[in-house]
């Protein structure tokens, strides 16, 4: 028997800490990288990370460090859970230590501002690694940390990456499904947040469950069209990283994006909504990215566009809903035509 593979987890936020804990609970040694020396000491001495995951007693197999080389050098696999806007910087630094044989997973939902790059694209631009994948799904960190059951997806075109991801994360309380569509999973994770903002608005405006279901489903249809045009497999959107994550983000009042929607519907400005949250909700950026991407790929995304108008151009939420309702209704779902003779293209009419 070969010794259990060593893992490095980069980022000791709530998700990174939770994942490191899960991996160590499975008996695999983990080094958890954080920038913050006091956080490192707290994890190593008290086995807690109270600010990120209150109440969690972190497994003994997790060793925190503030040196990237220390975390990565003797690891076989690396999991990155760094917020999207800091992702590039950490990857660039980690690139000093990462080697071609490293298997790398990331668990970051979002696109880079302005460049609209996905996290796996950033990894390829900043490091030598090729064998990479993504972890995503309806996974509220706090629930996973409490040991509540959940499911997630590890997507990678590299079977060994999937195999390592499953071995590290599977447990009696976590079912890990496999996928190969990294692009699709990443787009779902980034763009569903925009739909969650719409759902938050709908909840606060008390427009009814019909309306909310309607908005969320149209959002999914738009997301699907865009993702498909960008090269994703349409069925990815029906999986845990797609509908699964969308359901939890749109339903859970714990979701930051949902709360932004609620605040906006109450009449708060975007700045006020963000300030009340204390942190930035991913969907605020993602709506901009989605609009640009929709333009580039020639996809109509009225729901995303209206959320963006509310967020960044001051359109009142009530008017946004009225305007959405006045649009001509086209096909319910896109037809995805494919085959050897015709390149697949989504069509809307």
């Amino acid at each position: 028997m070969s010794p259990p593979p060593r893992w490095a987890v980069l980022g000791a936020g709530n998700w990174g800490t939770t994942l490191a804990h899960s991996i160590a609970t499975n008996g695999l040694p983990v080094k958890l990288w954080t920038r913050d020396a006091s956080q490192r000491d707290e994890i190593n001495q008290a086995h807690t990370n109270a600010r990120a995951v209150p109440g969690l007693r972190i497994a003994d197999g997790v060793l925190a460090t503030t040196a990237l080389w220390d975390a990565i050098d003797d690891a076989e696999a690396v999991l990155i859970a760094i917020p999207s806007q800091a992702f590039r910087e950490v990857c660039r630094a980690a690139g000093d230590v990462l080697r071609p044989e490293h298997l790398v997973l990331h668990a970051t939902k979002g696109l880079e501002n302005d460049s609209r790059k996905r996290m796996s694209e950033i990894l390829l631009e900043e490091t030598c690694v090729r064998q990479l994948g993504v972890v995503s799904g309806p996974n509220i960190a706090a629930e996973v940390a409490q040991g509540k059951p959940a499911g997630t997806v590890v997507a990678s075109p590299f079977p060994r990456v999937i195999e390592h991801g499953r071995r590290a994360l599977s447990s009696a309380r976590m079912m890990v499904f496999a996928g190969t569509d990294v692009l699709g999973v990443e787009l779902c994770g980034a763009l569903k947040n925009v739909v969650a903002i719409a759902a938050g608005m709908a909840d606060e405006m008390k427009v009814g469950d019909n309306a909310k279901a309607f908005l969320v489903t149209r959002g999914l249809a738009e997301l699907m069209r865009l993702a498909f045009a960008m090269g994703a497999e349409p069925m990815t959107m029906t999986g845990l990283a797609g509908i699964g994550d969308l359901m939890v983000t749109c339903a859970s009042p714990m979701s930051r994006n949902h709360r932004v929607g609620v605040a906006l519907a109450r009449g708060a400005s975007l700045d006020e909504a963000v300030a009340s949250l204390g942190m930035v909700a991913e969907g605020v950026h993602a709506s901009r990215s989605a609009r640009v991407l929709a333009g580039i790929h020639g996809i109509e995304m009225p729901l995303f566009e209206h959320v963006d108008l509310v967020l960044h151009e001051g359109l009142p939420p009530t008017e946004a809903i009225a305007s959405l309702m006045s649009l001509p209704a086209g096909r319910d779902v896109a037809r995805f035509r494919g085959g050897a003779s015709a390149p697949p293209r989504p069509t809307t009419r």
């Binding site: 690139g95 071609p100 044989e101 030598c128 090729r130 064998q131 075109p157 590299f158 390149p343």
Partner: protein
């Protein structure tokens, strides 16, 4: 991988003549047959009789499509004999039958390949090419400009690095594929740059063409029959290419597979032959070869006029329109077209651009002059580590296929960057987009029909668009997204227009675009489409994409 001293000595002795065709063929046969046999013993692998049956039925289907083609007579006879032996065979004879098929395929693939003849002929061929061009081009009674190949073929790019890398490892040239002239020009460029000879798989049709077959045989290409698609053939071909590479034979593949039918730069590459690079690299590492490294060198060809444009465009449109692909003898096999083509280049002082792009390792990392792989931030990377599992070199087809996908994506963006914008494609693009915009016709075929010669565009009406496109091209060039021909380093749009019209009027039997008074008329819509497509995908004039996103497909 137990390597004994005796093995190593034998290998060292063998190196002097490793590429003698016979030794290669024997080794390829041993590997392919061995693999097929051992796969058949696994519970999920194809059984031998299934492999043989699939070979026979695939070949039969292919031959049925080529009914009446005398070139296929030998293959037809072979398949017939296979069927007979298959019908009377038994478990004990399947292995022999597989070996027989592989042997036959190897003969076809490597039959012409002999290293000594090859080395000599590569050097002789350019001289022959020069003579050919000299001999045919000048017209009697006309003061002749000498056809100097060096004026007509502009070779640029990372030439010093290319020469240096050929010394420290094995080069795989991967050019874009525009015309059958590509291989001739590349052969010439390799000679001109003083590079060692390069082996490549040339389409069988090149051998059957009387004129060029002579050439091909003499530059020592091995043969690829693109119409053969049974798994045994593909595996044999791939193994052959792999072995050449791992033994240090510089090679050339067209990763697009065939000439671009649409005229667009390749957007989608075939992974088969590209995928030999990581495998050959691993084999070379395992054999502890002295120079195991493999360097993939993209090469972009840009023609102001394309010899076979009319046929290629027709084939693209026919395939898109849904009718069957028909293999017709094209301009490449017509001597008269060659002469006219070369004469046009000469008279208009036009040149073909051949650009060698930045070399990469088989995993898509750039390499420096010493052959060291670099990550995107310029940090040194040990490429052999991509093949490690638990510290040991290990085969992994799924992993290597993904590496090849990354490599292919990086090659595609290099092709786009290194493509040269020329007056012909620029004018074709601007005029086509003008008509497209005005007609608002979303259907390509209706649009092309609408481009009939009655409809014209006033020449001066194009000036604004031309100026804007020129500006956009310069901006793209400053960001390293494309190369702009010196012919377009001007703001004199009327001059650009004149130059492009003159080019379009010389070679093609029907001018692509014609000037009648103040009006420009489209003489040949499908050619206009073809030349336009070279500039697809750069966002010029903010025109929406016209072709499927993969770019050109065979």
């Amino acid at each position: 991988m137990g390597t004994t001293l005796r093995d190593a000595k034998e290998r060292a002795r063998g190196r002097a003549h490793v590429l003698a065709g016979e030794e290669i063929a024997t080794e390829v046969e041993r590997r392919v047959v061995g693999r097929v046999l051992s796969r058949a013993e696994t519970p999920t692998g194809a059984r031998l009789e299934e492999v043989i049956h699939e070979t026979i039925s695939t070949e039969q289907a292919r031959l049925a499509r080529a009914e009446g083609d005398p070139r296929e007579a030998a293959d037809r006879e072979f398949v017939l004999s296979l069927r007979r032996r298959f019908a009377h065979g038994n478990d004990a004879s399947w292995g022999d039958l597989v070996a027989l098929i592989v042997e036959r395929y190897l003969q076809e693939i490597s039959g012409h390949f002999d290293r000594r003849v090859y080395a000599m002929a590569t050097r002789a061929a350019p001289v022959a090419l020069g003579a050919l061009l000299h001999g045919f081009v000048p017209k009697a009674g006309r003061p002749t400009r000498v056809f100097d190949v060096d004026d007509r073929v502009l070779i640029g790019g990372e030439l010093g690095k290319l020469r240096a890398l050929a010394e420290v490892g094995t080069i795989v040239l991967v050019p874009t594929h525009v015309s059958n002239l590509d291989s001739v020009l590349l052969g010439y460029a390799v000679y001109r740059l003083g590079l060692p000879p390069v082996a490549y798989g040339a389409g069988l049709n090149l051998f059957t063409s009387a004129l060029i077959g002579y050439f091909m045989r003499n530059v020592g290409a091995y043969t690829v029959d693109r119409k053969k698609s049974d798994p045994l053939y593909l595996e044999t071909l791939k193994e052959y290419a792999t072995l050449l590479l791992e033994r240090g034979q510089h090679s050339l593949f067209f990763p697009g597979g065939t000439r671009s039918r649409s005229g667009a730069v390749e957007g989608h590459l075939k992974k088969g032959l590209l995928g030999t690079a990581p495998v050959a690299y691993r084999h070379a590492l395992e054999a502890r070869t002295k120079k195991p490294r493999i360097f993939v060198v993209p090469c972009t060809l840009t023609y102001p006029l394309v010899l076979e444009a009319a046929t290629l465009a027709k084939e693209y449109l026919r395939a898109e329109g849904g009718s069957h692909y028909v293999d017709v003898p094209d301009e490449f096999e017509q001597l008269g077209r060659w002469v006219q083509f070369l004469r046009s280049l000469l008279e208009l002082d036009l040149s073909v651009h051949l650009h060698f792009g930045r070399p990469m390792d088989p995993f898509g990392n750039e390499v420096d002059e010493e052959g060291t792989s670099l990550d995107p931030r310029g940090r040194a990377v040990d490429p052999s580590r991509y093949l490690l599992v638990g510290g040991r070199l290990e085969a992994d087809d799924a992993r290597d296929a993904e590496y090849t996908r990354t490599l292919a994506a990086r090659l595609v963006s290099t092709y786009r960057r290194d493509t040269v914008a020329l007056p012909t494609s620029l004018l074709a693009f601007v005029l086509f987009e003008r008509v497209r915009r005005d007609s608002k016709e979303p259907d390509l075929f209706r649009l092309l029909r609408g481009l009939s010669s009655d409809a014209g565009v006033k020449e001066t009406d194009l000036h604004d668009d031309l100026g804007r496109a020129l500006e956009q091209l310069r901006s793209l060039q400053s960001r390293g997204r494309i190369v702009v021909s010196p012919l377009l380093h001007t703001s004199d749009v009327a001059a650009v227009l004149r130059l492009a019209l003159a080019s379009f009027a010389t070679y093609h039997p029907k001018p692509v675009i014609e000037r009648r008074g103040e009006w420009l008329h489209v003489g040949d819509p499908s050619l206009l489409f073809y030349y336009r497509n070279r500039l697809e995908g750069y966002g010029l004039l903010d025109a929406p994409a016209l072709l499927p996103s993969e770019g050109s497909r065979p």
